[in-house]
Assembly symmetry: D2
Homo-oligomer: 395 residues x 4
C-alpha cells in the first residue's frame, strides 16, 4: 500500500469538506495529455485554477449529456447536439452546442467547467471537448428543474417547507452556439483522454458522496432520534435498534469515503488520486443505504409524516386549536416543534430534500450500473483466481 | 387445515377487490360479545350493514387515536380526549369526544364507523366505544392532510401532477361533542372485546394490503418497464433483472394476501376470518418491499426523476423548444409521453402517491412493530420447541 | 380468478404433505401430447401411476443431466451421454445412456421416473425421452454423494451427528445402456412437449418447497428458541426480535407455497396445476430466506456452534468433567441437552443438514436464475404497460 | 480529524497484516492504570512484549469466559470458575482457576495472555485479572473443538478436505489452579480498568476482521470465478453480476477496516488506537456480508456443492471412470481440478472453513449485539439532535 499519509490528508479532506473533484481529475489528465500529445493544457488549466482559488469562485462541473437514444453513439443521434459538441472552429476558439442535464448548484456558481460524458472513439473528436466559461456567457440558458413540494417555498407559511435554511436546485443547462476562447480550452479532440477524464472525475465524485450523503444521513438520524423522543418512545428497544441501524449504515458509507481516500495514490502530475476501486464501492453503497435510512426514519416517525395538516390550517382560528389539541404529545413537547421535525423528515424522505438524498444518491456521479462496471474493471480477478489455483495446485 | 374453499372465496376476494374489512371484524365480535354479555349488538350491526349494502354507501373505518404521550394510558393523558371517549351518557345515546387521525378516504365516505384503538382495561370503559355516524353529523370536523407536491393539482398545467386520474386524501377527523343515538352503538364499555375487535380489524386490513399495495406495485412496474423502453434500454440485462426483481417482490406481497385468505377459518358468527398469523406476515412484507420497488424504479427511471423542468416551462415559447430538443429519446418516442411516465414514477416514489405507496405501506393498519408483536403471539413457538425436544430425546 | 377451491385443496395438500409432483406434470402433459400427436401415453401413464399408488411405491423423479459444457447443446457435447439419451431403438423398447445428478432420496425409492432436463429442438429427438424403470434395473449404478460431516454417522458417539433420526442422501445415478420396455415409455421424440414437461414439473416442485423448506425452517426456529432459553437469554429484546424475524421469513415462504396452490387451475386432462408465476416466486424466496434464517440461528446460538468439543471427549474421564463444568448454563439446564441442541443447529447451518436446507434450497428444482426466467415469462408485462398508458392517455 | 497519518500507517498495517491487537490495548491501558493507581504494570508489560518480539513468539489473547447462566454476575454463578478468577493469592504470585472458550490458534501459540471478559464491579476484584503464561504451564489443558467435516483430514484421500494447505483450530482452554508469578501480572483487582481493556481489545480485534475476513472473501471470490469459468458460464450476465456483488461486499468490509485505522488517534501512552465507532461498524458488517458472499458462491457453484461423490469413489476402478465421464465440463477443463475447486468452496460455505468464515465472522471479537451497543455508545447522538434543533430553531 501507499504510505503517503501526509498527502492523503488532502484527499481525505475532500470527503470531509466536499472540496471540488473535477479539478483534481483535470490536473492529472491534462498533464498526461501534454506528455503524450505535446499539448499545453496543463499549464493553462493550472493557471485557470489558481485564478479560481484566488478569486474564490464557485465552479460547476458539467458532465452529463442528454444522450437521446441510448442505443446510439453521439454522431449517430438524430440530433448531434444530444451530446455537447464543437459545432464550429474559429481562429480564437470554438463554438459549442448541446446541453448538460442534472446540474446541481449551477445557478449559484460563477463558472462552468464542461467535460465529455463518455469515452469517445475515432470519428467523434468534436465531442471530446473540455473547457470553461462564466455562467453568464451569451448563449447559455438555464431551465430550472422541479422538485417534490417545491412550491411550498412560495407559500405564506414556511413551516411546511421542512428545511427553510438549506436546499438545492438542479438545472438543465443549454449551450446554444456558445463561443469558448482558446485560453479556456483544456481538451479538444484528444479522444484517448476522454475516458480517463470521465473515470477520474467520476471516482473523485463517488468518493465525495461518502462525506456528502453521510452528512445528510446524520441530519436524518438526528431528526429521527428527536421525533422518537418527542413521541415518548426513544427508549423502546425497537426504536433504539432502528436508530443504531441507521447510524451503522451511515457510518459504513462514511468509512468507504475515508478508505478510498486513505488508499489513494500520487499521480505523475503530483496530485493525489483516490483509489478507483474503493471509490466506486463507496458510491454503490450510497445507492442503497440512504433508501434504507429513509425507510427506517419513516417507520420511527409515524403516520403523521403523510397525513399532517398544513401550516395554513394551523394558523386558522377554527382548525388551529384542534390541531394543537390533537397533535400534542408529552406536555413538555411544543406542538409546533413536533410539526417542524416531522416536516423536516418529510422533506428528506418524500419532499424536496429527497431529490438530493435519494434520487441524487442513486444517479449522481453515475447510476449503480456504472459503479458495477468500474468495480469489475478495477478488481484484479485474475490474481484472485491465480491464488486459488496456487492453493489447490492447479496449473 | 380448513377446507372451506367455497367460502374462502369470499375472503380471497377481499384481497382482490379490497372489500371492507372492519365489518367482518364487527360481525364476529358483536356475536361473541352478545353470547358472553347478553348484549344485542350483533342484530343491530347486521341490520345496519344490510342497510349500508342496500343503499350502497361508503363507510370509513375510524380507529387510530392521536395517543398523545405514548408512555401513558388513555385516562392518564393530560387531555382525556387524546383517545376518543364517551364524554357523557344521555337517555337515547352517548356524546363522544376525541379525534381519529390518518383517515384515508374519509372525505368521500357517507358513514364513519368508530372503533377503539387498543385493548382497554378495567377503569377505561369510557374509551371502549364502537359506533357509527353519518359523515355530516353535527360536531364532526375534517382537517385535510398535506401530501408531497399536493398543490401541483392546483397548477395551470396538469402534466406535473403525475397521476391526474386517481389520488387519495388523509384527514384528521375531529369529534367535538358528537351525539350518537343508541341504535348506532355496537360496543360500549365491554373492555374485554376491545382488543379482539382491534386485532381482527387490523388483521383483515393487513390482509387487504396484499391486494392493495400489489396493485399499486403493478402500476409502478408498468411505468418502470415503459420508461426503460422509451429510454431504449429495456433489453439491457441489468434493467430486465431489476424489473424481474420488482415483479418478484410484488408477487410475494400478493401471495401473502392470498395465503392468509386461503388459510382462513369460519368464526362462531358464521363469517370467515383470515389467518391472523399470515395476515400479519403479509403486512410486514408490505412495510419493506414497496420501498425496494421504489428504489429500483428510481434506478431504472434515471436522474430526470429529480431534475425535470416544469410543465409551465414546457409550454414556454423560449424554454419549451429546448426542453423538447434535449429530452428527446429515440425518434419514435413522444417527448411529452416520456415526461408523463417520469412524472407518474415521481408521484409514486417522491410525490403525492408516495403517501399511499410508501408511508401508508409502513403505517397503515399499524406499524411493523405491531405486526411483529402479533406474529410473536400467533406463532405456536412452544410446539416448535417441543418437536425439537422430541427429535433430540430431551425431556 | 379461478374458484375451484374444492379441487384446489388437492394442490394445497401438495404443499402441506409434499406429495409427488412430476406425476401431476406427466398426467397433463401426456394428455396434451396424445391430443396433438395421437400417441397413447396418457392411458399408459395413468395405469402406471395407479399401480404405483396401489403398491404404495416410492418414485424418484430424475431430471437433472450433467450438462458438460454449458455453452453447447446436447448433441454438440464431446460426449453425447452428458445429456441422457436413447442410444438404440429395439423392437420392444429403447436402450438409454446417460446420468442424472443430484438425485435426492434415490436410494430409498422403488422406481425411477426419467424426464428430459430442458426444451429440446429439432434434431434432438433422441434426448426427448421420458420413461420409468425399477431402481434395481440392470445397468443402473448409484454413486453416493458426500455431505459435510457425513462420517460422523459412522463414529462411536452419535451425539455429534446432530440429527440421528432424519437425514437424506443425494446420489449420482448412472444409466449404462439400460433397456426400457415400450410400456414404460411416456414420451419419446416429441420434442415439442419436452419444455412443457420440464416447466410443469419444475413449477410443482418449486411449489412444494413452500412446504418442505418451511418445515425445516420450523425445526431451526424451534432449536434456536430452545438454545436461547437454555442460554438464559430468551427474553432479551434482540433475541426475541431475531426469532420473530425467522418466523416471519419462514411463514413468507409458506404463504407463497399456499398462494400458488390456491391460485392454481384445472388442466384439460382434469387435474390441477399450480399457478406457474407464483410457484416460481415461492422458490425464488426459498433461495434467499433459509440463508438468512441460518445466519440468525448462528447469531442466537453463539460461538460454541463452531468450537464445541467432540462427544468422544465428553466421554473421556479427564476431559469430560471439564467440559461438563464449563459448558454448564443455568443449573436447571442439562449440559448434554444443551450440546444436543447446538449440534442440531450446527447440522442445519454447516453440517449434513445444510445440504438439504441451504444448498438444495438454492439449487433444488432449479437455481434462482431459472426462476427469474420463468417469472419474466409468466408475467404479463405488456398488460401492466398498457394500463399505465391508459392511465396517462398515451396511445 | 486527526492528521497523524504517518503513525496511522501502523494501525492500517494491522488490518493488512493482522498484527496482534491486545498488546496495543494493554500498552495504553496499563499506562493509564499506572497513572491513576500508581501501579507498575506498564513497564512490566513493555518489557514482556519486547521479549516476545525479540524471541518472535506467538501469543494467544484469551478473553472469552464460559459465562454459565447469562442472567447472573460472575460471583453469583453456581460455580465461580465460570468466569476465570484469582482463586488464591501467594507471596510471589496468584493461582487462577477457570476456562477460556473459542481460542482460535491457541495450539500453535507459545504464550497465553489472559484478560477479563467484561466490565467488573466492586466486589468482583478477583475476576479482574490480566496476566500471561507459557502455553505449556502446569495445570493448563486444551480440549479441541470439532469443526464440520473435520475428520476428512484423517481420510486416505485428501481431495475431499478442500483446503489441505491452511486451516485452523479452536480450543477450550482449562486453567486448573494455575500459578502465575507476579512478574507476569498486568492487571489485578483494578476493576475500573477491566471495561476499558475489554473495549479496546475488542475494537482492535473488530478492526482486524476488516483485513482477515476480506482476505478469506478474496479466496472465495477467486474460487467462485474459477468454477464459473470451468462450468463455461463466466460470461453470463447474471454470473458476472453476482461476482461483482461479492467483490463489492468484500471491499466494503475492507474499506471499513481501513477507515477505522485511518481515523485512529494517539493514546496518552503514545501508541495508536483505532476509531472505536468505526471499528465496531466494520465488525457489524462482517457479521452480515460473508454470509451473503457464501450464498452467492453457493448459487454460482451449482448443486454439485452438496452432491459430489467422494475422493475414494473417484479412485475406485468401477465408480471412478463414471465420475470422470459425467463430471466433465468443457474438454479443456480437468475433472479433478474442477472437483478441487468445488471442494474448496464447500469447505468455506459448509465445511471446516465455514467455522472461520461464517461462525467466527458472527461471534469472533463479540457477537453483533456487542457491536450495536458500542455503536450506540460511541455515537454522539445528542450532537446530531442539537444540529437538527439549530436547523429548525427549536430551543
Amino acid at each position: 500500500m501507499n504510505g503517503n499519509y501526509q498527502e492523503a490528508l488532502h484527499i481525505i479532506d475532500n470527503v470531509l469538506n466536499q472540496a471540488p473533484d473535477f479539478n483534481e481529475a483535470l490536473f492529472s489528465t491534462t498533464f498526461e495529455c501534454d506528455q503524450k500529445h505535446g499539448t499545453e493544457y496543463h499549464q493553462r488549466f493550472s493557471d485557470y485554477w489558481k485564478w479560481i482559488q484566488k478569486e474564490d469562485l464557485v465552479v460547476d462541473g458539467a458532465m452529463t449529456d442528454p444522450k437521446g437514444d441510448r442505443g446510439k453513439r453521439p454522431k449517430d443521434q438524430a440530433d448531434p447536439d444530444l451530446y455537447l459538441r464543437v459545432k464550429q472552429r474559429q481562429p480564437g476558439g470554438v463554438v459549442i452546442s448541446g446541453a448538460k442535464l442534472h446540474q446541481t448548484g449551477m445557478l449559484n456558481s460563477h463558472e462552468i467547467l464542461i467535460m465529455p460524458t463518455l469515452t469517445l472513439r475515432s470519428g467523434e473528436e468534436d465531442w471530446a471537448i473540455c473547457c470553461s466559461i462564466p455562467t453568464n456567457t451569451k448563449g447559455v440558458r438555464y431551465i430550472y428543474g422541479r422538485q417534490a413540494s417545491d412550491t411550498r417555498k412560495l407559500e405564506k407559511f414556511s413551516l411546511d417547507v421542512g428545511n427553510t435554511t438549506f436546499g438545492g436546485q438542479e438545472v438543465m443547462t443549454i449551450f446554444d452556439n456558445v463561443f469558448v476562447p482558446k485560453e479556456r480550452i483544456f481538451l479538444d479532440s484528444e479522444i484517448d483522454f476522454s475516458g480517463i477524464l470521465v473515470e477520474r472525475f467520476a471516482s473523485y465524485h463517488r468518493q465525495s458522496y461518502g462525506g456528502c450523503k453521510a452528512g445528510v444521513g446524520d441530519t436524518l438520524i438526528g431528526a429521527t432520534a428527536l421525533i422518537a423522543r418527542m413521541n415518548g418512545v426513544a427508549e423502546a428497544s425497537h426504536i433504539r435498534d432502528k436508530i443504531v441501524e441507521m447510524i451503522h449504515l451511515n457510518e459504513t458509507i462514511y468509512s468507504c469515503g475515508i478508505a478510498c481516500s486513505a488508499m489513494g495514490q500520487q499521480t505523475p502530475a503530483g496530485n493525489y488520486q483516490v483509489n478507483l476501486l474503493l471509490a466506486n464501492v463507496c458510491k454503490l453503497n450510497v445507492t442503497r443505504f440512504p433508501f434504507e435510512l429513509a425507510r427506517l426514519a419513516t417507520d420511527v416517525a409515524g403516520g403523521l409524516l403523510g397525513t399532517m395538516p398544513s401550516a395554513a390550517d394551523l394558523s386558522d382560528p377554527v382548525a388551529g386549536p384542534y390541531i394543537k389539541k390533537y397533535l400534542a404529545a408529552a406536555p413538555e413537547v411544543d406542538v409546533v416543534d413536533r410539526i417542524k421535525v416531522l416536516r423536516l423528515i418529510e422533506n428528506l424522505v418524500a419532499g424536496a430534500g429527497a431529490v438530493g438524498y435519494l434520487i441524487e444518491s442513486m444517479h449522481g456521479a453515475g447510476p449503480p450500473t456504472a459503479q458495477r462496471i468500474m468495480i469489475s474493471r478495477q478488481t484484479n480477478l485474475e490474481d484472485k483466481i491465480k491464488r486459488v489455483k496456487d492453493l489447490l495446485g492447479i496449473s
